[in-house]
C-alpha cells in the first residue's frame, strides 16, 4: 500500500521524466536592417516538440512558419514579399525547421522555473532550399509549461532569394535577424 501511495505521489514527476509532447505556438519577429530602410516584421510560427526534460538531448522539434502570416505593416510590401521574386508563397508556403541534434551548452538551473541553454541543429527550409542551421536556444519550463526562445540570422543568398534587382543590400538587408518565442504545454 505504501509503495502504491509513493508511486502515485511520484506520478507527476515520472510523467515529466518520460518524453512528452507539446504543441507550440508563438511569435516571430524579423528585422531587415539595410542602409536605405529598416523593415520590422512579424509572423506566427507553430509546431511540435518532443522532449524528456530530464534529458534535453532527446529534444525533437518541428516548427513551421506559414509565409502568409508574415507581416511588415505595409500590405503592398507584404504582397511583394510573398511574390515570386522574393518568398514565392505559392510555390513555398511554409518555412520549416526540423531539428536533428541538440547540444546542451548550459545545464539545467533553477528551482520553480527551470532553465537550460542548448544549441539546436536542424534542417532549415526556406524558399524551397534546405540548409543545416545551428541556433542557440533557451529552454524554460515550469511544471509542464515549456518556453523556447531563439535568435538567429538567415542570409537571403543562401536560400536563392534574389528579390528585385538592386534591392537586396540597399532597401532589404542581405541578412535577416529572427527572434522566435514558442510556448506549449507538455502532455
Amino acid at each position: 500500500m505504501r509503495i502504491l501511495i509513493a508511486l502515485l505521489a511520484l506520478a507527476p514527476t515520472l510523467a515529466l521524466a518520460a518524453p512528452g509532447k507539446a504543441e507550440l505556438t508563438g511569435d516571430l519577429k524579423f528585422v531587415s536592417d539595410a542602409p536605405v530602410e529598416k523593415i520590422v516584421g512579424t509572423a506566427t510560427p507553430a509546431g511540435t516538440v518532443t522532449v524528456d526534460l530530464a534529458d534535453l538531448s532527446t529534444l525533437q522539434a518541428e516548427i513551421k512558419v506559414p509565409v502568409t502570416t508574415m507581416k511588415t505593416g505595409n500590405e503592398q510590401r507584404d504582397e511583394h514579399m510573398l511574390g515570386d521574386q522574393w518568398l514565392d508563397a505559392k510555390a513555398f508556403p511554409d518555412i520549416v525547421f526540423q531539428s536533428t541534434a541538440i547540444t546542451v551548452t548550459k545545464p539545467i538551473t533553477g528551482e520553480e522555473v527551470k532553465e537550460a541553454e542548448v544549441e539546436i541543429t536542424g534542417n532549415f527550409t526556406l524558399h524551397g532550399v534546405t540548409t543545416v542551421l545551428k541556433a542557440p536556444a533557451t529552454l524554460k519550463w515550469k511544471e509542464n509549461k515549456l518556453k523556447v526562445t531563439t535568435r538567429f540570422q538567415v542570409k537571403l543568398a543562401d536560400y536563392a532569394i534574389k528579390g528585385r534587382e538592386g534591392v537586396v543590400g540597399s532597401k532589404v538587408g542581405s541578412t535577416i535577424d529572427l527572434d522566435v518565442t514558442l510556448k506549449g504545454v507538455i502532455q
Binding site: 511569435d27 519577429k29 520590422v40 512579424t42 507581416k71 505593416g73 505595409n74 500590405e75 503592398q76 510590401r77 522555473v113 524554460k140 515550469k142 509549461k145 518556453k147 518565442t181
Partner: protein, 81 residues
C-alpha cells in the same frame, strides 16, 4: 499655374498606386512579464495616419479646382473689361 501643379501632384499620386489612405501600419510592442517571470514583448499592428501621399490625390484635385476657378474668374474679368 495651379492646374499645371495639380497635374504634377496627380502624376505622383498615380505613380504611387492611387492610395487614399496610409499604407503603413505601426508595430506596437508592449512589454509584459510572462508566467516564467521573463519580460516579453506582445506585438500588434495598429493602423496609423501619416502625412504624405495621402494628400497627393485630394491635394491635386484641390489645386485643379482652384486653377479652374481662377481661370473662370479671369475670363469673366476680361469679358467685363
Amino acid at each position: 499655374m495651379a492646374i499645371l501643379l495639380s497635374l504634377g501632384v496627380g502624376a505622383v499620386w498615380f505613380a504611387q498606386g492611387m492610395h487614399m489612405g496610409t499604407l503603413t501600419k505601426k508595430l506596437i510592442e508592449v512589454e509584459k512579464t510572462d508566467e516564467f517571470g521573463d519580460k516579453v514583448v506582445e506585438r500588434s499592428w495598429e493602423k496609423t495616419f501619416e502625412l504624405g501621399l495621402d494628400f497627393a490625390g485630394p491635394g491635386g484635385g484641390a489645386l485643379f479646382g482652384l486653377g479652374a476657378v481662377l481661370l473662370v474668374a479671369d475670363r469673366r474679368r476680361r469679358r467685363k473689361a
